[in-house]
């Protein structure tokens, strides 16, 4: 039902979007994360992403599966890019189909929030100043 892909190539969601189509689907919500040219007031030149592949896949699929359990949706998928990205590049894509729009929006938001919170993917920002820095989005999670 749900698909997750980690890729070093530019993201092309076309085939993934097609796979979310259902005759019972009345709403489709998607989110794309793009590399933007600034972060906390600093000019950004680009991003580098690393991922711990096997665990990222397990964890992202768990997020998608949770979304399908918690919300009245038909299917949800995600593609995350890794490697070196330039301004404007798509870093992540999420698509959700549902009978009605409310669940499509809520589930899509849930998936991007959880992906950011718990999937082992890391982003380094390269600044115009020459400096670069690994960004930390999560703080302590739970006891594990």
């Amino acid at each position: 039902m749900s698909t997750f892909l980690l890729t070093e190539d530019p993201i092309d969601p076309a085939a993934f979007t097609l796979a979310l189509r259902r005759d019972e689907a009345g709403g489709y919500c998607s989110f794309e994360g793009w590399v933007r040219n600034h972060s906390d007031g600093q000019a950004v030149l680009g991003l580098d992403y690393q991922a711990y592949l096997p665990l990222a896949e397990t964890e992202a699929l768990a997020v998608l599966s949770e979304a399908e359990t918690r919300f009245d949706i038909l299917a949800a998928s995600c593609i995350h890019r890794i490697g070196t990205l330039a301004i404007g590049d798509m870093a992540v894509w999420i698509g959700v189909s549902a009978p009605h729009r409310d669940a499509a929006f809520t589930a899509c938001r849930f998936v991007i929030d959880e992906i950011k919170r718990r999937v082992p993917i890391w982003k380094r920002e390269r600044y115009a100043s020459g400096h670069s820095e690994w960004i930390a989005c999560h703080e302590i999670m739970d006891g594990s």
Binding site: G33, Y49, Q50, A51, Y52, P54, L55, A56, T58, H80, A91, V92, I112, I115, K116, R117, R118, V119, P120, I121, W122, K123, R124, W134, I135, A136, C137, H138, E139, I140, M141, G143, S144
Partner: protein
């Protein structure tokens, strides 16, 4: 043999993989080590000293063989261990 109770004579051979800040600080993506550490917690303190890691364990999670693990888990010979810095995907 009395030592066995105190110091665990069977050293575990582990594969460590590093990501993000830990990779930069370790200066490598991967290393193989022998350790006598009885927990992942103790293992991280050992590595923190060796590599001058700046992140405290409290900001990390840890995975063994591609599954999240508890810090009190005892690493076993052949385990693949990854310390997970704060994530920032998306």
């Amino acid at each position: 043999m009395a030592n066995a109770i105190l110091a665990r004579p069977d050293m575990a051979h582990l594969t460590l993989e590093y990501f993000a800040l830990l990779r930069d600080e370790a200066g490598c993506a991967c290393e193989e080590i022998e350790t006598a550490a009885l927990s992942l917690d103790a293992l991280y303190e050992e590595l923190k000293t060796r590599h001058n890691f700046t992140l405290p364990a409290s900001r990390l999670r840890v995975a063994v063989n591609a599954a999240f693990a508890r810090w009190d888990h005892s690493p076993t010979d052949g385990d693949h261990v990854v310390f997970i810095p704060p994530v920032s995907g998306g």
